[in-house]
């Protein structure tokens, strides 16, 4: 029924080798973490499916070669009626309807997508009919470890830039790093950073060991993204007026870090999942 090998050659191989970028289109204008509310539909036709609906906040949505699109194939079955499709972005009917203008991570594309009876063949189905929700869930641990790591990376850059500045900039005839107020601010930032990093690495180690780590991955993502914003803000403060200027990196880091508390599940969503696992 399916040529599984062909599908792997066309999508997985070039993606794994970094020759084709991937995107993940689950979120819709009216459904994010609440995936049971998906409206995008796939209707069975001869030889494949016709997908109609719209997707929102799709990172890589315009630069990807392959987008994994989630659509309802069996409306009566709820979460078990969701199917994932591998959709080449040059498919007729794959429309990038808007590129969002954002606060930060401005060089990363965030696309709104719309599909109007977009035809995909039977072998576009990933993992079998009705497996979409399960597939989406299976990516959550590594996805959240990823955003935790990203938060740590942005915060790390902020601390390094602030340290560099504090050691060079002089006030009252000494580098401002000699002022205990500045020292303590940077000590707090570095300590929080280390805690966030260890939480991310802890979740990653559990994942390596094949152990369930959704709680630890959510905790790491929650904590790292929250403290990263605080760290970047405190580091910006070290630079005083310069921290507020486009020409000094802290201004950009301050804009970039904010998304970490929002995507891949907001901080509140992480708390809901952690609560279920206490």
């Amino acid at each position: 029924m399916y040529d599984n090998e062909d599908q792997k050659q066309r999508f997985l191989k070039p993606m794994a080798m970094g020759e084709m970028i991937g995107a993940f289109a689950l979120t819709e204008p009216g459904a994010g973490s609440d995936a049971s509310n998906l409206k995008t539909k796939a209707v069975k036709v001869d030889g494949g499916w016709k997908i109609s609906g719209s997707k929102q906040f799709i990172s890589n949505g315009s630069i990807a070669g392959n987008t994994v699109v989630f659509a309802v194939t069996d409306p009566a079955s709820g979460k078990k009626g969701i199917t994932a499709f591998a959709v080449p972005t040059n498919t007729e009917g794959y429309v990038v309807s808007r590129l969002e203008d954002k606060l930060g991570i401005k060089a990363s594309d965030t696309a709104a997508l719309s599909f109007d009876e977009m035809f995909v063949p039977d072998d576009a189905v990933i993992g079998g009919l009705g497996m979409g929700y399960k597939i989406a869930l299976s990516t959550l641990e590594s996805g959240r470890i990823g955003i935790g790591a990203q938060s740590v990376g942005i915060a790390m850059e902020a601390v390094n830039r602030a340290l560099e500045y504090a050691r060079e900039r002089k006030a009252f005839d000494m580098p401002i790093f000699e002022l205990q107020a500045v020292q303590f601010r940077l000590v707090d930032a570095a300590t929080r950073l280390e805690a966030a990093r260890q939480m991310v690495l802890h979740a990653a180690r559990l994942k390596n060991a094949g152990l369930p780590c959704i709680r630890e991955a959510c905790m790491a993502k929650l904590f790292a993204s929250e403290v990263a914003e605080t760290i970047v803000s405190e580091c910006l403060q070290v630079l005083g007026g310069y921290g507020y200027l486009h020409d000094y990196e802290l201004e950009r880091l301050h804009r970039d870090v904010r998304i970490c508390k929002i995507y891949e599940g907001t901080s509140d969503i992480q708390k809901i999942i952690i609560a279920r696992n206490l």
Partner: protein, 119 residues
């Protein structure tokens, strides 16, 4: 090495291959990302050549098994590499993290079809 960058202590716990991946990420961030990050932020896009390079270095498809042509690195190495890339340019780290998981991770589920025949 930066004052706060992945501590030597963490790097010391890695094997040769893992350490090389993290150090490659750090070098890529230092040479290719950090010097251009402000420009890309203004332009609102990332150059395709840089993303090709990111892929060629193995940072896309990091946790995909080797049998499916991935790098098959572990999640600690993945997280440490992603930290370095994010420190160099946050926008690039978005492409990298979204590509690896969920995009690659969910696409890799096409290999489970033989095991799970749903409905």
């Amino acid at each position: 090495m930066n004052a706060i960058a992945p501590t030597q202590a963490i790097l010391a716990t890695l094997d040769e291959d893992q350490r090389m991946i993290v150090e490659t990420a750090e070098a890529f961030a230092r040479d290719e990302l950090r010097p251009n990050s402000a420009k890309w932020d203004k332009e609102g896009k990332l150059p395709k050549e840089m993303l090709d390079q990111l892929g060629a270095l193995g940072f896309l498809g990091m946790t995909i098994p080797a049998e499916h042509n991935g790098v098959e690195t572990d999640y600690v190495t993945y997280a440490l590499a992603l930290m370095e890339i994010a420190a160099g340019d946050a926008a690039t780290s978005v492409v990298m993290s979204v590509h690896n998981s969920p995009a690659c991770a969910s696409t890799a589920c096409m290999t489970m079809r033989t095991k799970n025949s749903a409905s």
